[in-house]
């Protein structure tokens, strides 16, 4: 059994950690959180130079072609550092969708630009409250133009292109949904930034008015492509969440060692120890489930839908739990703007709500397990 990342992959993780420790300290996250740029442009270029944006993109399309296990370890580090960049939107969603369903021309046009940091991409799926479902999609595609409103779209106001789930038929069935590729700089789109839980990441409303769009994949296969993209992104996002959970646990542990109250380190109180032990348990379960997801993702295993839901649920729980309890361990200081605890708290929920929320993935997991058992 070799259920572990290789030495090379671990080295890559260390390299990414060192890079982000230098280029993405909490100060950099705060600059985006409190500013209006929407993302850290210098960090984004740096990530491109390091080859991190194209790690899962084949060499023929400008990437390094290393693979998805390599992307998993980088995703974890992005989460740990709370990197304020459109990494998940561009790399887990847009690039994955292009690689799964794009024509050669579409791949040639966008993948090299993703790898080089020249193009930010995203997926525009949601239209107000609700989880992924074909019935919820009202943005309509007809004669190569889109009309309607998507919100929230992660990184929508800073993206150069987007993949849009649109309705081509009337019935709200899976086969009525198609994916479209839109150059957001080409006109016909109005992007409005939305105030959101985690302002270190952009969220936007995109309004399409007779906006020219090209099909991505076959017109009746949009939903099936989307489902596969969400599973793949689910695993990658789970790694990002586990990275955040681990860092929140470390912050709590460090504070419990440093802080003295009642004449002793607060970490010597069982009430604090048990909080931290439970955080460790949640983070460990999530990490192990993520490894399972990574295996399924990198081998295109039939277990991917189940593994992705498992990793996603477990990592969502872990990051939410650890970021929330980290504040509790810190006490009053944890609730100040000055301490970094709230950055993790904010990010944990922003990530939890992206790609479909916890209850959506719980429902998916049980449905998938049931199908497997029935088969």
């Amino acid at each position: 059994m070799n259920f572990e990342f290789s030495d090379d992959q671990k080295q890559l993780r260390d390299q990414a950690r060192r890079f982000l420790a230098e280029k993405c300290p909490p100060k950099a996250v705060r600059a985006v959180l409190e500013g209006s740029a929407g993302y850290d442009k210098a960090l984004w270029s740096g990530l491109a130079e390091m080859g991190f944006l194209g790690v899962a993109i084949p060499e023929e399309f400008g990437g390094t072609g290393a693979g998805h296990l390599e992307l998993c370890v980088i995703a974890e580090e992005m989460g740990r550092a709370l990197a304020p960049v459109p990494f998940s939107s561009t790399v887990y969603l847009a690039a994955e969708a292009l690689m799964l369903a794009g024509s050669d021309a579409q791949k040639q046009k966008w993948l090299p630009k993703i790898a080089s940091g020249e193009a930010i991409g995203t997926l525009a799926l949601f239209e107000g409250p609700g989880n992924p479902s074909p019935q919820a999609i009202k943005v309509a595609a007809a004669n190569g133009v889109l009309n309607g409103v998507k919100k929230p779209v992660a990184d929508g106001a800073i993206a150069d292109f987007a993949i849009i789930a649109a309705r081509v038929g009337a019935g709200g069935r899976e086969t009525d949904i198609a994916l479209y590729l839109v150059d957001l700089k080409a006109g016909g789109i109005e992007a409005k930034t939305l105030t959101n839980l985690d302002p270190s990441r952009n969220q936007a409303e995109l309004t399409f008015k007779d906006c020219k769009a090209e099909l991505l994949g076959a017109a009746n296969e949009g939903w099936s492509i989307l489902s596969r993209v969400l599973d793949r992104a689910g695993v990658l996002m789970a790694f990002e969440q586990v990275g955040g959970a681990d860092r929140a646990l470390e912050m709590g542990r460090d504070y419990a060692l440093d802080r003295i109250a009642f004449g002793r380190q607060i970490g010597s109180f069982q009430a604090i120890k048990h909080i931290l032990a439970d955080m460790y348990v949640a983070a460990t379960l999530a990490r192990s489930n993520c490894y399972y997801g990574a295996w399924a993702l990198s081998t295109n295993a039939g277990e991917l839908p189940e593994a992705a839901a498992t990793a996603r649920i477990s990592a969502t729980q872990a990051f939410q739990h650890c970021s929330k309890q980290n504040i509790q361990v810190h006490g009053g200081m944890g609730f100040t703007w000055e301490f970094d605890c709230h950055l993790y708290y904010r990010r944990s929920n922003a990530l939890a709500l992206s790609l479909g929320s916890l209850s959506y993935w719980e429902d998916q997991l049980i449905e998938r397990m049931r199908k497997k058992n029935a088969a």
Binding site: K273, H274, R287, S288, N289, T310
Partner: protein, 414 residues
């Protein structure tokens, strides 16, 4: 990243599988498969006798106590080989219940601290199942605080005289030998006055009484010692060094108990998949799904955490601290799952008779027994302390009894 055996592991697995196929007592397979929690009783045959026969057969063919050296009845196998063997032994591993404490705790302690003569006389018989061992540590006054134990050992020439009481001793009623920790000096702080022995459980003055548990079952014993004589030659380690000796034993306890953990998840998933409620199948209900999903990912998390540890073993490394979460997660899960299953049964959830109860009363039995899972082998709270202190590096609790002579420590709360 893969789940495959190395070529050597695959060869070892094939050998183990072939032997189990050819030799396992298949007549008990179905019954053993269904038993998931607690002590197992067999309809046709006594668990201990059937277990002894299986253990002997394994021992004769070199499949007993795999990680022990050959000269003491083992196979000299690597840790990963031992795990592969356990996987291949499968449900028949449940038959080894009476020997697990001997293999995992008493044997390693004798191996580390016993004389060569004792090792050669006792260990092969433990490995072959001819002699069963029990562990005599817990006391009414020393549970989580094991070092607070009060059973006295007093020197009398070449012997020691033992007086006191142990509790929660699995298998004491059929054990041949016991590993016993005693207090030899109450005038020094508690960890310093302890000494370890092993003794013949048939010795004069040893009395074993079963404990009736809260769930009505009798799986453990109290053991009383009245002027029991143990020769000094059966002392393990130096006088006063019993605490260090016991750490060898307890380190092995958590490892071995964690190796075959039941969570109740397969049972609750199957139950909800079939249970028809007024609103349709239980599993179609969103609230049920949310709970099932939560348990599914915990159960899967434990499985893949174990796989990570196995991968470390496979590389010849020590598993990381991730191992320590198993029992903590599984204990609460079993309790919560059982309570939820009964809730789904409504008023009928109160019925325990297997003939009329839902799911043959298995969730009721699970629920009644589950508090014990959260206590035995380290309470949830002790396990959290261990994670916090040994894994996360937090400071130990401030101990008010640390430097106080044992006989000056208060014995009553009020």
């Amino acid at each position: 990243m893969n789940f495959d055996d190395t070529p050597e592991e695959a060869a070892f697995r094939a050998k183990a599988r072939e032997w189990v196929q050819a030799n396992a007592p298949k007549e008990y397979e179905a019954e053993l498969s269904q038993a998931s929690l607690g002590r197992i009783t067999l309809k046709k045959g006594d668990m201990v006798e059937v277990g002894k026969a299986w253990q002997k057969k394994k021992s004769d063919a070199g499949w007993a106590c795999l990680s022990w050296p050959k000269e003491y009845g083992g196979r000299g196998a690597t840790p990963i080989e031992k795990v592969i063997w356990q996987q291949e032994e499968g449900v028949y591993g449940k038959l080894t219940q009476p020997f697990q404490i001997g293999e995992g705790m008493c044997g390693p302690t004798v191996m580390a601290f016993g004389s060569e003569d004792d090792k050669r006389r006792r260990l092969p018989k433990l490995a072959s199942g001819e002699e069963i061992w029990c562990q005599l540590f817990s006391e009414p006054a020393g549970g989580s605080d094991v070092a607070g134990l009060r059973t006295r050992a007093e020197r009398d020439g070449d012997d020691w005289i033992i007086n006191g009481q142990k509790i929660w001793t699995s298998g004491a009623h059929y054990a041949d030998w016991g590993l016993l920790i005693t207090r030899t000096d109450p005038n020094v702080p508690k960890h310093k006055g302890l000494t370890m022995f092993f003794l013949d459980m048939k010795s004069k003055g040893v009395e074993v009484k079963p404990i009736k548990q809260a769930n009505g079952m009798q799986e453990f014993n109290e053991v009383y010692f009245t002027d029991v004589r143990i020769p000094d030659s059966q002392r393990l380690g130096n006088v006063g060094d019993g605490w260090n000796v016991s750490l060898t034993t307890l380190m092995n306890e958590r490892m071995s108990i964690g190796s075959r953990l039941a969570t109740g998840f397969p049972e609750i998933f199957a139950f909800c998949s079939d249970l028809m409620t007024d609103d349709g199948l239980a599993i179609d209900d969103a609230a049920v799904r949310a709970k099932l999903a939560d348990w599914a990912v915990k159960s899967s998390g434990l499985k893949y955490t174990a796989y990570r540890s196995l991968s470390a073993l496979s590389r010849g490394e020590r598993p990381g601290p991730e191992n320590s979460i198993g029992k903590l997660v599984a204990g609460t899960m079993v309790q919560d799952i059982a309570a939820f299953a009964m809730d789904l049964q409504g008023a009928a959830g109160v019925i325990t008779d297997p003939a009329t109860a839902e799911a043959a009363g298995r969730f009721q039995a699970m629920w009644l027994g589950s508090p014990g899972m959260r206590i035995a082998g380290g309470t949830d709270e002790i396990l959290r302390n261990i994670i916090a202190e040994r894994v996360l590096g937090l400071p130990g609790d401030i101990r008010v009894d640390k430097d106080v002579p044992f006989n000056k420590i208060p014995t009553k709360g009020r």
